[in-house]
Each structure stands twice: as structure tokens, then as C-alpha cells.
């Protein structure tokens, strides 16, 4: 039953069509002071696909993804987008390649309001070069109406918002600027059941628009439900990448804990 669902979802992705993947991270390594946080890891992502990144704390999944979002610079490896090698040295480069990230910490400036956070780094300006607050607030109201219709606190600093409201601001920022590649680092970690469902709905919606999503999560069940494939990491190394349709919760758990591929899955 679950396998059927997954199969249905898979049909929407661009995988298997022969086109190059949307993102390919090849042989990525990064170390901090002699400790290899990421050790020769390769992952890829196709349009309309959700790839889960699983692993214990310190397995290297967040570090790997921060290479893609420009927060860290890799020591070794290559990133290809649409089959072409790209340089991502900082968050600006990542944004220029339509890569958007929702960080676990949300990365919001607490003292600014939702609109300023939504447009931070990409403000709309008037012909005189000044920021156009009214136009930005109008856009912010539009996108928040879609994401979180109950959201009203447009003139309060985001420090005054609830966890779910802050999350919707962070999500709005990632999806507003026509992202093609979306990185979500534990997007539901701080949320209640209702808001978690909201995020799940959103992921389905974005998938349908052909956006590729890397989803970092601790929760195996969430990954089973939302992802098409899962890449499991342990101690900085890639344990393996599997189709969700081919594995069970327990298979994923044993990959995370034991660091071994399920034996029966031969191509």
C-alpha cells in the first residue's frame, strides 16, 4: 500500500528520462581541523524529486548540504547543476543558481519584521534606489496568504512570532524567489502536528512544480512518507542511496545505526 503510493509519486520526477540530474554533488570532501566531516560523498537530485538525507547527529549531512548552500567551502569535489560544473563559494552564488535553503535555525533576523526577512538580501527598490517597503509588504501578504492564512503579524519583529509562524516566514523566503533546488534542514523539528502537516502539503505542492528538494530529517517515518529516495550518511561517509519504494523503515534504521546497505537490494 505504501509502496504503491511511493510508486505513484515517483512517476512525477525527472529521473530515468535520460536528462542530467538537477544537482549532482560529486566526491565531496570537507574537513575541519583534521576531522573529516564529509568524506568523498556523492549525491544527486532530479527535478520534482525529494531526496532524504539521513544519519545521526554528526553524520555530516548538514555539513554536506551547507557546501551546496554556500555556507561552507568544500576541500575536494565538484558540484554540477543541469550537468554543468558550477562554483559555489558563498550564499550569493548559491542563490544565483536558484538554490534556496531553509536552515534548521531558520536564519531569521529576529529584530526585523516578516517582510524584511522575506526580502533580506534581495530588497525591492524604488526608482531612487530606496527600499520599497510598501510593495514588499504587499508581496509578503500575498505569499503568506498562501502559506499560512492565519498569519497577521506583519509589523512585528519576528522575535514576537510563534515557532510555526517563524517557520512559515523561513519557508516563504525560500519559495518566493522561484527556487529550483530547495534544501530543507529539519523543517519540522520545532513544529506541532498541524504545522508539520502544513509543511508536508507544501513539499508535495513544490514537488509537483518540478522543484528538487533535499530534505534532512531525523525522523525515518517522515522520510518514508515524503521522499522518493534516501541517502544515508554515517561518520562523514555515504552508506548508500536507496529508493524508498524498495526499503522498509527497518532497512533505513539499520543503515543509519549499523552503516550497512540492505543486502538484498541488488540492481
Amino acid at each position: 500500500m505504501q509502496a504503491q503510493d511511493t510508486q505513484k509519486r515517483l512517476s512525477g520526477t525527472g529521473r530515468g528520462s535520460g536528462a542530467p540530474p538537477l544537482v549532482e554533488m560529486r566526491d565531496i570532501s570537507i574537513s575541519f581541523g583534521g576531522i573529516k566531516a564529509v568524506d568523498h560523498v556523492s549525491v544527486d537530485l532530479y527535478p520534482g524529486e525529494v531526496v532524504g538525507l539521513l544519519g545521526h547527529n554528526g553524520a555530516g549531512k548538514s555539513t554536506l548540504i551547507k557546501v551546496l548552500s554556500g555556507a561552507y567551502q568544500m576541500d575536494h569535489g565538484e558540484i554540477l547543476i543541469d550537468g554543468k560544473s558550477v562554483e559555489i563559494d558563498n550564499p550569493r552564488d548559491a542563490r544565483a543558481n536558484n538554490i534556496e535553503t531553509i536552515y534548521q535555525t531558520l536564519a531569521l533576523a529576529d529584530n526585523l519584521d516578516a517582510t524584511s526577512n522575506l526580502f533580506l538580501g534581495r530588497e525591492m527598490t524604488t526608482p531612487f534606489g530606496l527600499v520599497n517597503d510598501a510593495a514588499m509588504e504587499a508581496e509578503c501578504r500575498k505569499i503568506m496568504a498562501q502559506l499560512n492564512p492565519n498569519f497577521q503579524k506583519f509589523n512585528d519583529p519576528v522575535s514576537a512570532l510563534s515557532g510555526g509562524q517563524r517557520q512559515s516566514v523561513a519557508i516563504a523566503r525560500a519559495v518566493y524567489f522561484n527556487a529550483r533546488i530547495l534544501i530543507m534542514d529539519e523543517p519540522t523539528a520545532a513544529l506541532g502536528p498541524h504545522e508539520t502537516q502544513m509543511v508536508a502539503d507544501l513539499i508535495h505542492q513544490l514537488k509537483a512544480q518540478g522543484i528538487g528538494i533535499f530534505l534532512i530529517d531525523h525522523d525515518v517515518h517522515a522520510v518514508m512518507e515524503l521522499c522518493d529516495r534516501a541517502s544515508v550518511m554515517k561518520n562523514g561517509k555515504l552508506v548508500g542511496t536507496v529508493d524508498i519504494a524498495d526499503v522498509t523503515d527497518d532497512d533505513l534504521l539499520s543503515m543509519i545505526i549499523l552503516g550497512k546497505q540492505p543486502a538484498q537490494k541488488a540492481e
Partner: protein, 432 residues
Amino acid sequence: MTETSSQPIPEKAKPSLFQQLELDMRLLGMIGAFVILCIGFNIFTDGRFLTPRNLFNLSIQTVSVAIMACGMVFIIVTRHIDLSVGALLATTSAVMAMTQTELLPQILGMGLNNPATWAITIVVGLFVGTLIGAFHGWMVGYLTIPAFIVTLGGFLVWRNVAWYLTSGQTIGPLDSTFLMFGGTNGTLGTTTSWLFGLFATAVAIWALWSGRRAKAAHGFPVKPVWAEATLAGIIAIAILGYVYIVNSYAIPTRRLQRMFEARGETMPEGLVVGYGIPISVLILIIVAVTLTIVARKTKFGRYIFATGGNPDAAELSGINTRLLTVKIFALMGFLCAVSAVVASARLANHSNDIGTLDELRVIAAAVIGGTALSGGIGTIYGAILGALIMQALQSGMAMVGVDAPFQNIVVGSVLVLAVYIDIVYRKRLGAK
């Protein structure tokens, strides 16, 4: 995720008078404190404090610290500190003093009081100030040396660079046009002051109106008309009231006589001429308005506050926070040079101890004005009010006859108390 229609603005409980005016409560508190201070001193000095003469002097004494406090707001908002502003003021003042008394007239042979001297001098001073500030910013941003250390070092370095440049001598007299930028030597005169006051009032009302129009155009909630009108009225009274005060401070008869004699005319009997707005105050107003626009309406200002609120988030949003740090410190250096113009022109010469302890006054002004040392919060007008309160306290106590050591004891205590009141106020408000 169901209804995606427009969002009605929910009806709230009837807002209080102050909420409807959308006035900043802490601004009101500071104005209140300032007014109480003035009235108190006025009583203790038998009415000598609230005279046009004293208020005129108070405003020209405040300018130098207030200009630097504006820049300090941006520094502190981004979680840095600048302990070198007083020393930097001394260095830029020394550079300008040497430029206008040695370099231009003697070495370049332009002679004394050449009409181009003041302009070249100020350009040189502003350039040097900006350059030193940018150098500080580069060390803080790119070499990641804490600002406290960079500017503590700068405090010693620039104080003594100034000493070295002038061999510790008092340099003067300064260029006569240059002197107009500080003190009583340069004022707008009564007519121009009134025109400026009317112009400023018109601009302020236009800014209020266009802000309201922009909100209304998108259908956002706006204040009631009476609230806007009240605000406009308060602003108009404040501006025109100040103009009235400085216009009523008459130039002393003897001084006026000398001015007429200098032009080869005789002064008509019984003539009374008001000073009008000092040029140094005009400079402060220009700095304050420009920086307020920068803070609220430019990307640069937005990034300053975002970086102060969450440096990591700013970096991840693609803001080049290192370059931003360089720009902020360069701006601080520029403003130190502006203050140096005002301060040395007011004193009519460059003295070796110019700007001593200014770093502490400037930081205190910014902090009393509501700039949070934890970053992300601060206003330009707050810092100026902070500077004004400090100066009022200082000169008020001097007029009352409080002993010099007690003056500083009181100012220090007031600084600590003001920050404590601010902490209590923010806790009550529920904000951080």
C-alpha cells in the same frame, strides 16, 4: 492551507491614545526626561537655564558629540564598538589644522585666508577620517580582530598621531571661513533661519503624508487622520520653536559693532540682530536626516540592522558582512572628521586635548538613546537626544555650581540608571 483569499484585519480592543499616535514610548520618555531636566535646572538657576542664550549654547555644545553618536549607532547596532572616536577626531582635527595653517598657506604658497583653503582643508580631513575608519573596519571585518581591541589600539595610536603631527602645540588661528562651521562664528541669520524652519516643516509633513499614501495605496491600515495631524503639529512646533529661540538670541551689541566696523559701516543705533540657526546645528540636522533615511530606507541600512539582529542569518542571506563592517567604520571615520571640523571651528584652534573623553560621551549618548549593546536596535534621533540630555546635565550642573568631580559622578550614574530603566522597560514590553 485552505482559504487563500484576502486576509481581513482583525478588530482589536480599542487602542489607547498613544497607540493610535504610534509614537515611540521610549522617545516620549526621553523627551520627558529632557524637559524635566531643563525645568529643574531652570528653577535652580533662577531662570538662567531656559534662556535663548543658554539653549543656543547648549545646541552648539552638543553638535560634535551628537554627530559622532549617529555613526556610533550603526557601529553598536552591528555588535561592534568604537573606542577611538575621540582620538580620531583629534587626528583629523590636527590634519586639518596643519593643512590650513602650514601646508596650504606656506608650503603651497596660497597665503592666509585664501578662499579655497577651507574647502580643500575639509576635503582632506574627511578623506583622512574615512580612510582611517575604513582601515579599522578592514581589521575588524577581514582580519576578524575584535572591534574593542582594534579601536582600543586606535585610541592610543590616533591620540598620539595627533600629538606628533602638531608637536603638541595649539594650532591657530584657523581659516576665517573654516571658523563658520562651529560655534557662534557662523549662523544663518534670522530670515534664512525662518525660511529653513518653514522648509523643514514642509518636508516633514510631506514625508508623513507620502508614507501614509504608500500604505493606503496597498490597503494597509493607516493611523486616523487626527493622529497624523497631531504628529505634524508637534513636529512643526518643535522645528519652528527652535528657530524662534535661536532667533531671539541677539548678537551682543559690541560684537555687532565690530562686525559693522569690519565692513567699514557704522551700526545704526538700537539695532538688534538675532543669531539664527548655527551652521554646525544645520550640519547635525543634515547628518541626522541622511542617516535616518539610510537606516530605514536603504539596503545598506537594512543590512546593518539585519547583521546586528543575527549575523549568521545576514551572511546566509547573501549579505557581505565583512565589506559591510568596513563601510560602517568608514562612515564612523567620516563623521569623526565632520565633528572635528565643528569642534575645532568652535574652539577657533586645534588644541592637543581636543576630543578627550569624547569616545565615552559618544557611546553613552548612543546607549542612553536606546541603542542596545546586544545589537540590532537603535535610532539616530535617540542618539541625538541622548547627547542632548548628557550635555544638558553637564552644563546645567556647571551653571548650578556643582563641583567638577560631582558632575562626572552624576553623569556616570545617570548612564547606568538609564540603561537599567531601559532593561526594565523592555522586559515589561515582553521583548528581548
